[in-house]
Protein backbone atom coordinates (compact mmCIF):
# COMPACT_ATOMS: atom_id res chain seq x y z
CA UNK A 1 0.00 0.00 0.00
CA UNK A 2 2.79 2.36 0.88
CA UNK A 3 4.48 1.50 -2.45
CA UNK A 4 1.33 2.70 -4.20
CA UNK A 5 1.39 5.92 -2.23
CA UNK A 6 5.06 6.56 -2.90
CA UNK A 7 4.66 6.04 -6.64
CA UNK A 8 1.49 8.09 -6.80
CA UNK A 9 3.06 10.98 -4.90
CA UNK A 10 6.11 10.73 -7.16
CA UNK A 11 3.95 10.96 -10.29
CA UNK A 12 1.91 13.90 -9.01
CA UNK A 13 5.04 15.72 -7.85
CA UNK A 14 6.71 15.21 -11.23
CA UNK A 15 3.60 16.51 -12.95
CA UNK A 16 3.42 19.53 -10.64
CA UNK A 17 7.05 20.42 -11.27
CA UNK A 18 7.19 19.80 -15.02
CA UNK A 19 3.54 20.42 -15.96
CA UNK A 20 3.88 18.17 -18.96
CA UNK A 21 0.43 16.61 -19.27
CA UNK A 22 -2.23 18.71 -17.60
CA UNK A 23 -1.81 22.09 -19.35
CA UNK A 24 -1.58 20.29 -22.70
CA UNK A 25 -4.77 18.35 -21.97
CA UNK A 26 -6.71 21.44 -20.90
CA UNK A 27 -5.51 23.48 -23.86
CA UNK A 28 -6.31 20.62 -26.20
CA UNK A 29 -9.84 20.33 -24.78
CA UNK A 30 -10.61 24.05 -25.08
CA UNK A 31 -9.20 24.23 -28.61
CA UNK A 32 -11.22 21.20 -29.62
CA UNK A 33 -14.40 22.85 -28.31
CA UNK A 34 -13.62 25.89 -30.48
CA UNK A 35 -13.07 23.63 -33.49
CA UNK A 36 -16.39 21.89 -32.84
CA UNK A 37 -18.11 25.28 -32.61
CA UNK A 38 -17.05 26.06 -36.18
CA UNK A 39 -17.03 22.49 -37.49
CA UNK A 40 -20.65 21.99 -36.47
CA UNK A 41 -21.57 25.65 -36.97
CA UNK A 42 -23.60 25.61 -33.79
CA UNK A 43 -23.41 27.93 -30.80
CA UNK A 44 -25.52 25.78 -28.53
CA UNK A 45 -25.72 22.03 -28.22
CA UNK A 46 -28.01 19.59 -26.47
CA UNK A 47 -28.74 15.89 -26.23
CA UNK A 48 -26.69 13.41 -28.22
CA UNK A 49 -24.70 16.07 -30.08
CA UNK A 50 -23.61 17.69 -26.81
CA UNK A 51 -22.72 14.28 -25.36
CA UNK A 52 -20.69 13.44 -28.45
CA UNK A 53 -18.72 16.69 -28.47
CA UNK A 54 -17.94 16.47 -24.76
CA UNK A 55 -17.00 12.78 -24.72
CA UNK A 56 -14.89 12.83 -27.87
CA UNK A 57 -12.97 15.81 -26.51
CA UNK A 58 -12.41 14.17 -23.12
CA UNK A 59 -11.41 10.90 -24.81
CA UNK A 60 -8.73 12.47 -26.99
CA UNK A 61 -7.47 14.71 -24.19
CA UNK A 62 -7.19 11.56 -22.06
CA UNK A 63 -5.17 9.91 -24.82
CA UNK A 64 -2.58 12.66 -24.47
CA UNK A 65 -2.06 11.80 -20.81
CA UNK A 66 -2.23 8.04 -21.42
CA UNK A 67 0.46 8.29 -24.10
CA UNK A 68 2.76 10.16 -21.72
CA UNK A 69 1.95 8.04 -18.68
CA UNK A 70 5.04 5.82 -18.81
CA UNK A 71 7.46 8.11 -20.62
CA UNK A 72 9.48 8.74 -17.46
CA UNK A 73 9.53 5.04 -16.58
CA UNK A 74 10.74 4.14 -20.04
CA UNK A 75 13.33 6.89 -20.50
CA UNK A 76 14.74 7.09 -17.00
CA UNK A 77 14.77 3.40 -16.17
CA UNK A 78 11.74 3.43 -13.87
CA UNK A 79 10.61 0.01 -15.08
CA UNK A 80 13.94 -1.52 -14.03
CA UNK A 81 13.70 0.20 -10.67
CA UNK A 82 10.26 -1.34 -10.06
CA UNK A 83 11.57 -4.76 -11.07
CA UNK A 84 14.46 -4.43 -8.63
CA UNK A 85 12.38 -3.07 -5.76
CA UNK A 86 10.82 -5.63 -3.41
CA UNK A 87 7.24 -4.51 -4.17
CA UNK A 88 4.29 -6.10 -5.87
CA UNK A 89 4.37 -5.02 -9.56
CA UNK A 90 0.61 -4.46 -9.40
CA UNK A 91 1.33 -1.51 -7.10
CA UNK A 92 2.60 0.35 -10.15
CA UNK A 93 -0.70 -0.37 -11.90
CA UNK A 94 -2.74 0.96 -8.98
CA UNK A 95 -0.53 4.04 -8.68
CA UNK A 96 -0.79 4.81 -12.39
CA UNK A 97 -4.56 4.32 -12.41
CA UNK A 98 -4.88 6.73 -9.49
CA UNK A 99 -2.54 9.25 -11.14
CA UNK A 100 -4.53 9.11 -14.39
CA UNK A 101 -7.76 9.46 -12.41
CA UNK A 102 -6.37 12.62 -10.81
CA UNK A 103 -5.29 14.07 -14.18
CA UNK A 104 -8.65 13.32 -15.76
CA UNK A 105 -10.59 14.74 -12.81
CA UNK A 106 -8.58 17.96 -12.97
CA UNK A 107 -9.04 18.10 -16.74
CA UNK A 108 -12.80 17.80 -16.32
CA UNK A 109 -12.91 20.45 -13.58
CA UNK A 110 -11.52 22.78 -16.25
CA UNK A 111 -13.22 21.38 -19.37
CA UNK A 112 -16.79 20.94 -18.08
CA UNK A 113 -17.37 24.60 -17.10
CA UNK A 114 -15.79 25.75 -20.37
CA UNK A 115 -18.03 23.34 -22.27
CA UNK A 116 -21.08 24.62 -20.38
CA UNK A 117 -20.13 28.24 -21.03
CA UNK A 118 -19.52 27.61 -24.72
CA UNK A 119 -22.45 25.39 -25.60
CA UNK A 120 -25.04 24.80 -22.88
CA UNK A 121 -28.12 26.94 -22.31
CA UNK A 122 -28.99 25.02 -19.20
CA UNK A 123 -26.20 23.78 -16.94
CA UNK A 124 -28.32 21.93 -14.35
CA UNK A 125 -27.25 18.57 -15.79
CA UNK A 126 -23.61 19.19 -14.92
CA UNK A 127 -23.76 17.95 -11.34
CA UNK A 128 -25.06 14.43 -12.10
CA UNK A 129 -22.78 14.48 -15.14
CA UNK A 130 -19.78 14.71 -12.81
CA UNK A 131 -20.66 11.26 -11.46
CA UNK A 132 -20.84 9.82 -14.98
CA UNK A 133 -17.48 11.39 -15.73
CA UNK A 134 -15.93 9.75 -12.69
CA UNK A 135 -17.04 6.31 -13.91
CA UNK A 136 -15.73 7.17 -17.37
CA UNK A 137 -12.40 8.26 -15.90
CA UNK A 138 -11.97 5.02 -13.98
CA UNK A 139 -12.54 2.98 -17.15
CA UNK A 140 -10.18 5.19 -19.15
CA UNK A 141 -7.54 4.96 -16.43
CA UNK A 142 -7.72 1.17 -15.99
CA UNK A 143 -7.51 0.28 -19.68
CA UNK A 144 -5.16 3.19 -20.35
CA UNK A 145 -2.62 2.07 -17.75
CA UNK A 146 -2.45 -1.46 -19.20
CA UNK A 147 -2.27 -0.48 -22.87
CA UNK A 148 0.11 2.39 -22.17
CA UNK A 149 2.54 -0.04 -20.53
CA UNK A 150 2.42 -2.22 -23.65
CA UNK A 151 2.87 0.83 -25.86
CA UNK A 152 5.77 2.20 -23.82
CA UNK A 153 7.68 -1.06 -24.18
CA UNK A 154 7.07 -1.41 -27.89
CA UNK A 155 8.90 -0.01 -30.89
CA UNK A 156 5.81 1.80 -32.20
CA UNK A 157 5.37 3.67 -28.87
CA UNK A 158 2.94 6.54 -29.32
CA UNK A 159 1.36 4.86 -32.30
CA UNK A 160 0.37 1.60 -30.68
CA UNK A 161 -1.39 2.94 -27.59
CA UNK A 162 -4.28 4.79 -29.32
CA UNK A 163 -4.53 2.06 -31.94
CA UNK A 164 -5.24 -0.67 -29.40
CA UNK A 165 -6.97 1.53 -26.85
CA UNK A 166 -9.67 3.10 -29.03
CA UNK A 167 -11.54 -0.09 -30.00
CA UNK A 168 -11.17 -1.32 -26.43
CA UNK A 169 -12.89 1.83 -25.17
CA UNK A 170 -15.86 1.71 -27.54
CA UNK A 171 -18.26 -0.05 -25.11
CA UNK A 172 -17.33 2.43 -22.37
CA UNK A 173 -17.92 5.36 -24.70
CA UNK A 174 -21.25 3.89 -25.85
CA UNK A 175 -22.39 3.64 -22.23
CA UNK A 176 -21.04 7.09 -21.33
CA UNK A 177 -22.80 8.64 -24.33
CA UNK A 178 -26.02 6.86 -23.41
CA UNK A 179 -25.84 8.21 -19.87
CA UNK A 180 -24.78 11.74 -20.87
CA UNK A 181 -27.36 12.29 -23.57
CA UNK A 182 -30.48 12.55 -21.33
CA UNK A 183 -28.57 14.67 -18.80
CA UNK A 184 -27.81 17.26 -21.46
CA UNK A 185 -31.23 17.06 -23.13
CA UNK A 186 -32.93 20.26 -24.22
CA UNK A 187 -35.20 21.57 -21.49
CA UNK A 188 -33.40 20.21 -18.46
CA UNK A 189 -31.92 16.82 -17.56
CA UNK A 190 -33.99 13.67 -17.54
CA UNK A 191 -32.96 10.43 -15.90
CA UNK A 192 -34.59 7.94 -18.22
CA UNK A 193 -32.35 4.92 -18.87
CA UNK A 194 -29.41 6.54 -17.10
CA UNK A 195 -29.39 3.67 -14.59
CA UNK A 196 -28.62 0.89 -17.06
CA UNK A 197 -25.78 2.89 -18.60
CA UNK A 198 -24.30 3.64 -15.21
CA UNK A 199 -24.44 -0.10 -14.45
CA UNK A 200 -22.76 -0.91 -17.77
CA UNK A 201 -19.98 1.58 -17.06
CA UNK A 202 -19.53 0.23 -13.54
CA UNK A 203 -19.30 -3.31 -14.95
CA UNK A 204 -16.74 -2.19 -17.51
CA UNK A 205 -14.66 -0.44 -14.84
CA UNK A 206 -14.79 -3.42 -12.50
CA UNK A 207 -13.87 -5.88 -15.25
CA UNK A 208 -10.89 -3.97 -16.54
CA UNK A 209 -9.58 -2.96 -13.12
CA UNK A 210 -9.59 -6.67 -12.23
CA UNK A 211 -8.06 -7.79 -15.55
CA UNK A 212 -5.41 -5.08 -15.33
CA UNK A 213 -4.58 -5.89 -11.74
CA UNK A 214 -4.36 -9.62 -12.46
CA UNK A 215 -2.25 -9.41 -15.61
CA UNK A 216 -0.05 -6.42 -14.83
CA UNK A 217 2.84 -8.34 -13.28
CA UNK A 218 3.36 -10.13 -16.60
CA UNK A 219 3.88 -6.80 -18.33
CA UNK A 220 6.76 -5.94 -16.01
CA UNK A 221 8.58 -9.28 -16.07
CA UNK A 222 11.82 -9.24 -17.95
Amino acid sequence: MSAVRVMLVKDLRVELRTLQSLPAMALFAVTTFVIFRFGLDRTSLEGSLAAGVLLVTVLFAALLAINRLFVAERDEGGFDAIRLAPVDPSALFVAKVLALLAYLAILEVIALPVFAAFFLDDATGLLPLAGIMLLLDLGLAATGAVISTIGANSRARDLLTPLVLLPLLIPLMIAAAGATEPLLAAGGPSYADVGQWVLTMALYDLLFVLVGYATYEFLLED
Binding site: N153, A156, V164, P171, L203, Y204, V211, L219
Partner: protein, 249 residues
Protein backbone atom coordinates in the same frame (compact mmCIF):
# COMPACT_ATOMS: atom_id res chain seq x y z
CA UNK B 1 -6.18 -30.01 -27.75
CA UNK B 2 -3.82 -32.49 -26.19
CA UNK B 3 -1.47 -33.89 -28.75
CA UNK B 4 -1.90 -37.64 -28.97
CA UNK B 5 -5.65 -38.10 -28.83
CA UNK B 6 -6.36 -35.80 -31.77
CA UNK B 7 -6.89 -37.51 -35.12
CA UNK B 8 -4.27 -36.82 -37.75
CA UNK B 9 -4.45 -33.77 -39.93
CA UNK B 10 -5.31 -35.91 -42.96
CA UNK B 11 -8.30 -37.51 -41.22
CA UNK B 12 -9.50 -34.14 -40.04
CA UNK B 13 -9.19 -32.64 -43.51
CA UNK B 14 -11.28 -35.44 -45.00
CA UNK B 15 -13.85 -35.13 -42.22
CA UNK B 16 -14.07 -31.39 -42.84
CA UNK B 17 -14.63 -31.84 -46.56
CA UNK B 18 -17.26 -34.53 -45.93
CA UNK B 19 -19.22 -32.57 -43.31
CA UNK B 20 -19.01 -29.25 -45.17
CA UNK B 21 -20.02 -30.99 -48.41
CA UNK B 22 -22.98 -32.59 -46.67
CA UNK B 23 -23.86 -29.22 -45.15
CA UNK B 24 -23.87 -27.46 -48.52
CA UNK B 25 -25.90 -30.29 -50.07
CA UNK B 26 -28.42 -29.88 -47.27
CA UNK B 27 -28.46 -26.11 -47.70
CA UNK B 28 -29.35 -26.39 -51.36
CA UNK B 29 -31.51 -29.52 -51.53
CA UNK B 30 -32.93 -30.19 -48.07
CA UNK B 31 -33.56 -26.93 -46.21
CA UNK B 32 -36.68 -25.13 -47.45
CA UNK B 33 -36.51 -21.64 -48.89
CA UNK B 34 -37.34 -18.95 -46.39
CA UNK B 35 -40.92 -17.72 -46.81
CA UNK B 36 -39.88 -14.13 -46.28
CA UNK B 37 -36.49 -13.70 -47.89
CA UNK B 38 -36.43 -16.62 -50.32
CA UNK B 39 -33.17 -18.01 -51.62
CA UNK B 40 -30.88 -15.31 -50.20
CA UNK B 41 -31.66 -16.44 -46.67
CA UNK B 42 -29.50 -19.51 -47.34
CA UNK B 43 -26.39 -17.39 -46.74
CA UNK B 44 -27.46 -17.70 -43.10
CA UNK B 45 -26.03 -21.26 -43.09
CA UNK B 46 -22.60 -19.89 -44.03
CA UNK B 47 -22.57 -16.53 -42.30
CA UNK B 48 -23.76 -17.43 -38.80
CA UNK B 49 -21.51 -20.51 -38.32
CA UNK B 50 -18.47 -18.52 -39.51
CA UNK B 51 -19.23 -15.71 -37.08
CA UNK B 52 -19.79 -18.13 -34.19
CA UNK B 53 -16.50 -19.91 -34.95
CA UNK B 54 -14.62 -16.61 -35.07
CA UNK B 55 -15.96 -15.51 -31.68
CA UNK B 56 -15.29 -18.91 -30.11
CA UNK B 57 -11.77 -18.71 -31.56
CA UNK B 58 -11.21 -15.42 -29.75
CA UNK B 59 -12.41 -16.87 -26.45
CA UNK B 60 -10.28 -20.01 -26.95
CA UNK B 61 -7.29 -17.71 -27.56
CA UNK B 62 -7.94 -16.04 -24.20
CA UNK B 63 -7.89 -19.43 -22.45
CA UNK B 64 -4.63 -20.41 -24.14
CA UNK B 65 -3.20 -17.05 -23.09
CA UNK B 66 -4.15 -17.63 -19.47
CA UNK B 67 -2.38 -20.98 -19.64
CA UNK B 68 0.60 -19.32 -21.29
CA UNK B 69 0.96 -16.75 -18.52
CA UNK B 70 0.46 -19.42 -15.86
CA UNK B 71 2.91 -21.98 -17.21
CA UNK B 72 5.24 -19.80 -19.28
CA UNK B 73 5.19 -22.52 -21.94
CA UNK B 74 5.48 -20.85 -25.37
CA UNK B 75 3.35 -23.56 -27.02
CA UNK B 76 0.26 -21.96 -25.47
CA UNK B 77 1.26 -18.63 -26.96
CA UNK B 78 1.53 -20.24 -30.39
CA UNK B 79 -1.95 -21.72 -29.96
CA UNK B 80 -3.34 -18.40 -28.82
CA UNK B 81 -1.77 -16.69 -31.82
CA UNK B 82 -3.16 -19.25 -34.26
CA UNK B 83 -6.63 -19.02 -32.67
CA UNK B 84 -6.70 -15.26 -33.07
CA UNK B 85 -5.26 -15.53 -36.56
CA UNK B 86 -8.02 -17.90 -37.65
CA UNK B 87 -10.58 -15.81 -35.76
CA UNK B 88 -9.59 -12.71 -37.71
CA UNK B 89 -9.74 -14.59 -41.03
CA UNK B 90 -13.16 -16.04 -40.17
CA UNK B 91 -14.20 -12.62 -38.89
CA UNK B 92 -13.36 -11.06 -42.25
CA UNK B 93 -15.46 -13.72 -43.95
CA UNK B 94 -18.31 -13.13 -41.50
CA UNK B 95 -18.29 -9.37 -42.12
CA UNK B 96 -18.28 -9.89 -45.89
CA UNK B 97 -21.07 -12.48 -45.90
CA UNK B 98 -23.04 -10.39 -43.41
CA UNK B 99 -22.70 -7.38 -45.66
CA UNK B 100 -23.93 -9.36 -48.67
CA UNK B 101 -26.89 -10.61 -46.69
CA UNK B 102 -27.69 -7.11 -45.43
CA UNK B 103 -27.59 -5.79 -48.99
CA UNK B 104 -29.94 -8.49 -50.20
CA UNK B 105 -32.34 -8.42 -47.26
CA UNK B 106 -32.41 -4.74 -46.32
CA UNK B 107 -31.03 -3.05 -49.43
CA UNK B 108 -27.97 -1.63 -47.68
CA UNK B 109 -24.42 -2.92 -47.38
CA UNK B 110 -24.17 -1.79 -43.79
CA UNK B 111 -26.90 -1.30 -41.19
CA UNK B 112 -25.95 0.51 -37.99
CA UNK B 113 -29.20 -0.47 -36.30
CA UNK B 114 -28.33 -4.15 -36.20
CA UNK B 115 -26.47 -4.66 -32.89
CA UNK B 116 -24.85 -7.98 -33.78
CA UNK B 117 -23.29 -6.46 -36.87
CA UNK B 118 -21.92 -3.46 -35.02
CA UNK B 119 -20.63 -5.50 -32.05
CA UNK B 120 -18.89 -7.84 -34.42
CA UNK B 121 -17.23 -4.96 -36.23
CA UNK B 122 -15.91 -3.52 -32.94
CA UNK B 123 -14.55 -6.89 -31.84
CA UNK B 124 -12.97 -7.31 -35.27
CA UNK B 125 -11.33 -3.87 -35.09
CA UNK B 126 -9.90 -4.67 -31.68
CA UNK B 127 -8.44 -8.00 -32.78
CA UNK B 128 -7.04 -6.42 -35.94
CA UNK B 129 -4.69 -4.44 -33.66
CA UNK B 130 -3.22 -7.73 -32.42
CA UNK B 131 -0.82 -7.81 -35.39
CA UNK B 132 0.67 -4.31 -35.01
CA UNK B 133 0.98 -5.04 -31.29
CA UNK B 134 3.01 -8.20 -31.87
CA UNK B 135 4.95 -6.61 -34.69
CA UNK B 136 6.11 -3.65 -32.64
CA UNK B 137 7.67 -5.66 -29.82
CA UNK B 138 11.02 -7.15 -30.73
CA UNK B 139 11.93 -9.32 -27.78
CA UNK B 140 10.24 -12.67 -28.42
CA UNK B 141 9.44 -13.51 -24.84
CA UNK B 142 8.07 -10.09 -24.07
CA UNK B 143 6.09 -10.16 -27.31
CA UNK B 144 4.51 -13.44 -26.23
CA UNK B 145 3.66 -12.14 -22.76
CA UNK B 146 2.20 -8.87 -24.04
CA UNK B 147 0.21 -10.69 -26.69
CA UNK B 148 -1.22 -12.93 -23.97
CA UNK B 149 -2.21 -9.98 -21.81
CA UNK B 150 -3.89 -8.46 -24.86
CA UNK B 151 -5.69 -11.71 -25.68
CA UNK B 152 -7.03 -12.01 -22.11
CA UNK B 153 -8.15 -8.37 -22.02
CA UNK B 154 -9.81 -8.69 -25.41
CA UNK B 155 -11.40 -12.00 -24.44
CA UNK B 156 -13.04 -10.31 -21.45
CA UNK B 157 -14.05 -7.46 -23.73
CA UNK B 158 -16.03 -9.61 -26.21
CA UNK B 159 -19.12 -10.37 -24.07
CA UNK B 160 -19.13 -6.89 -22.52
CA UNK B 161 -19.05 -5.28 -25.93
CA UNK B 162 -21.98 -7.36 -27.17
CA UNK B 163 -23.93 -6.35 -24.08
CA UNK B 164 -23.23 -2.61 -24.48
CA UNK B 165 -24.09 -2.52 -28.17
CA UNK B 166 -27.22 -4.61 -27.70
CA UNK B 167 -28.31 -2.23 -24.95
CA UNK B 168 -27.73 0.76 -27.20
CA UNK B 169 -29.95 -0.55 -29.95
CA UNK B 170 -32.62 -2.80 -28.48
CA UNK B 171 -34.53 0.11 -26.95
CA UNK B 172 -35.55 1.30 -30.38
CA UNK B 173 -35.12 -1.62 -32.71
CA UNK B 174 -36.49 -5.12 -32.30
CA UNK B 175 -34.31 -8.04 -33.26
CA UNK B 176 -34.81 -8.65 -36.94
CA UNK B 177 -32.60 -11.65 -37.49
CA UNK B 178 -34.01 -15.12 -37.23
CA UNK B 179 -31.40 -16.75 -35.02
CA UNK B 180 -31.12 -20.43 -34.32
CA UNK B 181 -33.52 -20.28 -31.41
CA UNK B 182 -35.94 -18.05 -33.25
CA UNK B 183 -38.48 -20.74 -33.99
CA UNK B 184 -36.88 -22.20 -37.12
CA UNK B 185 -38.49 -25.24 -38.73
CA UNK B 186 -36.63 -28.47 -37.87
CA UNK B 187 -35.19 -28.89 -41.39
CA UNK B 188 -33.55 -25.48 -41.19
CA UNK B 189 -32.32 -26.10 -37.66
CA UNK B 190 -30.75 -29.43 -38.63
CA UNK B 191 -29.08 -27.88 -41.68
CA UNK B 192 -27.79 -25.06 -39.52
CA UNK B 193 -26.22 -27.40 -37.00
CA UNK B 194 -24.58 -29.50 -39.71
CA UNK B 195 -23.16 -26.28 -41.21
CA UNK B 196 -21.98 -25.20 -37.79
CA UNK B 197 -20.25 -28.55 -37.25
CA UNK B 198 -18.64 -28.27 -40.69
CA UNK B 199 -17.36 -24.75 -40.06
CA UNK B 200 -16.08 -25.71 -36.62
CA UNK B 201 -14.21 -28.64 -38.19
CA UNK B 202 -12.81 -26.30 -40.83
CA UNK B 203 -11.68 -23.89 -38.12
CA UNK B 204 -9.94 -26.59 -36.08
CA UNK B 205 -8.37 -28.18 -39.16
CA UNK B 206 -6.99 -24.87 -40.40
CA UNK B 207 -5.68 -24.14 -36.91
CA UNK B 208 -3.90 -27.47 -36.75
CA UNK B 209 -2.61 -26.96 -40.24
CA UNK B 210 -1.08 -23.62 -39.34
CA UNK B 211 0.30 -25.03 -36.10
CA UNK B 212 2.05 -27.90 -37.84
CA UNK B 213 3.31 -25.55 -40.56
CA UNK B 214 4.86 -23.39 -37.85
CA UNK B 215 6.38 -26.42 -36.13
CA UNK B 216 7.85 -27.64 -39.39
CA UNK B 217 9.31 -24.30 -40.43
CA UNK B 218 10.78 -23.86 -36.96
CA UNK B 219 12.35 -27.30 -37.20
CA UNK B 220 13.71 -26.55 -40.67
CA UNK B 221 15.36 -23.37 -39.49
CA UNK B 222 16.76 -25.21 -36.46
CA UNK B 223 18.21 -27.90 -38.70
CA UNK B 224 19.58 -25.30 -41.07
CA UNK B 225 21.26 -23.52 -38.20
CA UNK B 226 22.73 -26.81 -37.00
CA UNK B 227 24.04 -27.59 -40.49
CA UNK B 228 25.54 -24.23 -41.14
CA UNK B 229 25.84 -21.88 -38.21
CA UNK B 230 27.31 -19.19 -40.43
CA UNK B 231 24.22 -18.82 -42.61
CA UNK B 232 21.68 -16.20 -41.52
CA UNK B 233 18.75 -17.75 -39.71
CA UNK B 234 15.75 -18.03 -42.01
CA UNK B 235 12.96 -16.63 -39.91
CA UNK B 236 9.60 -17.10 -41.52
CA UNK B 237 7.83 -14.18 -39.94
CA UNK B 238 8.65 -11.44 -37.48
CA UNK B 239 5.14 -11.40 -36.10
CA UNK B 240 4.63 -15.12 -35.67
CA UNK B 241 5.51 -16.42 -32.23
CA UNK B 242 8.63 -18.48 -31.72
CA UNK B 243 7.94 -22.17 -31.69
CA UNK B 244 9.54 -24.09 -28.84
CA UNK B 245 12.01 -26.83 -29.65
CA UNK B 246 11.10 -30.51 -29.46
CA UNK B 247 7.40 -30.01 -29.08
CA UNK B 248 4.56 -31.69 -30.84
CA UNK B 249 1.22 -30.09 -31.56
Amino acid sequence: MTSLKMPSLRVMAFATVAVLGAAFAMVFFYAPNDADQGFIQKIFYVHVPIAICALIGFVVAAFHSIRHLRTGDPIHDVRSYVSIHMGVIFGTAALLTGSIWARAAWGKWWVWEEPTLVSFLIVYLLYATYYPLRYSIEDRERQARYASVFAITAGAFVPLNFMAVRLAESLVHPRVFATADGGLPPEMLLTFFVSLAGMALLFVTLMRFELSAKMTSAQVSRLRRALDSEAPAASASRIAPAVPAEQRI
